[in-house]
């Protein structure tokens, strides 16, 4: 749900106030970038797509309606569509061999090499899931969204989200198990 402050900021942004949209950008850009980065194989692609998402959001912010849907969910919807279009139009396929490289700079905190390897393994495993399971894993376990928020974003019942979440975790476990052996 939107708190009062965010609602007024969104209203200002709809009225064309650039600084208001700047505030929304600061709040949500990292989340959206992360969501995209975990779904595509390259940092540059993630940057381009995240930029495009916020550009579209700014140009179409008048279409956003206060109907109980959080602003973040609206942004996630744009991001999902952007990634789908990216794969559809450019016929991009994820080459897992290329993802072997580890971008330590991608992580905001200094981590031990061991944990970074774990994170990279998890990232590769996520990329092997289908789009829907990727969305649920990222939203639920990376971004810590509630099943209700995920159901609002994906437009599916909460019960369905729980089932899909369970299936996604099982698949991820299998992938990680296969990777370790």
């Amino acid at each position: 749900m939107l708190d009062g402050d965010e609602k007024s900021i969104i209203k200002s942004a709809i009225d064309g106030e650039a600084s208001a949209f700047g505030s929304l950008y600061d709040k949500y850009h990292s989340k959206i970038y992360r969501f995209i980065y975990l779904k595509v194989s390259h940092r540059e692609e993630a940057e381009d797509l995240a930029h495009q998402v916020f550009l579209n959001a700014w140009q179409n912010i008048s279409k956003y309606k206060f109907q109980g849907l959080p602003f973040s969910s609206w942004l996630y919807q744009i991001a999902r569509n952007q990634v789908i279009d990216h794969y559809r139009t450019k016929k991009v396929t994820v080459n897992l061999e290329i993802i072997e490289e580890i971008f330590i700079s991608d992580y905001s905190v200094d981590k031990e090499v061991g944990s970074i390897l774990e994170l990279e393994t998890a990232r590769k495993a996520i990329l092997k899931l289908n789009q829907e399971q990727q969305d649920i894993i990222i939203m639920r376990f990376v971004e810590d969204l509630s099943p209700k928020e995920i159901s609002q974003t994906l437009g599916k019942p909460e019960s369905t989200i729980r089932v899909l979440q369970h299936r996604a975790i099982q698949n991820l476990k299998k992938i990680l198990k296969n990777e370790s052996t």
Binding site: I14, D15, G16, A18, F21, G22, Y25, D26, H29, S30, Y33, R34, Y37, L38, R43, A46, E47, A50, H51, F54, L55, W58, Q59, N60, I61, S62, S105, D106, Y107, S108, V109, K111, S115, E118, L119, T121, A122, R123, I137, F141, V142, E143, D144, I169, L172, K173, L176
Partner: protein
């Protein structure tokens, strides 16, 4: 195992975009104008001179287009009326009315002439009858001589044989009578 996976996945939360990229991207997006639709809604909320000129430009284009269409349609109608092979003179209502008025006027004049002549004729007949009642006219002495009580049939025959100019004289008398009537 589940806990380990969720812990690892939550570790991915530390992935952050490059700060320079994020700043540049934000500046680029905010420097761009909003969509045309948003601009249109703003045009109504923010009244200024630029909006007035925009509106005037639109209305002037509309007016010019209207006049162009009007003149084209007028031209087509004029050409159709003037040069069309189907436009016969006899079918023109105005010329038909004028022609009918001319004919009516000429009939009026003819009727008046007939009326005048009829009146003149009646006057002439009245005058002749009056003259004949008041004073019998005799063409000449010869004529008067035969219209006496003592005139016999033989005398009349002799008169007719011996007066070769009787017809001419009676014509002269008639002419005199007509002159009087005319006067």
């Amino acid at each position: 195992m589940d806990k380990d996976i969720t812990k690892i996945l939550s570790g991915l939360r530390h992935i952050e975009p490059d700060k320079n990229y994020a700043h540049k991207s934000k500046m680029i997006i905010l420097s761009l104008e909003k969509s045309e639709k948003a601009k249109f809604s703003l045009a109504f909320s923010q009244f200024n001179i630029k909006n007035v000129f925009e509106t005037l430009r639109f209305s002037s284009i509309f007016i010019v287009t209207f006049f162009l269409i009007f003149s084209i349609l007028g031209g087509v109608s004029y050409i159709n009326k003037t040069f069309s092979p189907l436009a016969l003179e006899g079918l023109d209502q105005k010329s038909l009315v004028i022609e009918a008025k001319d004919i009516n006027n000429s009939i009026q004049i003819t009727l008046e002439e007939i009326k005048y002549l009829d009146q003149a004729n009646k006057k002439a007949i009245n005058t002749i009858s009056e003259l004949s009642k008041n004073k019998p006219i005799y063409s000449n002495i010869a004529t008067s001589s035969i219209i006496s009580d003592s005139t016999s049939t033989e005398d009349i025959e002799n008169f007719l044989i011996t007066s070769p100019t009787s017809t001419d004289e009676s014509n002269i008398d008639i002419n005199l009578l007509l002159d009087k009537v005319a006067e």
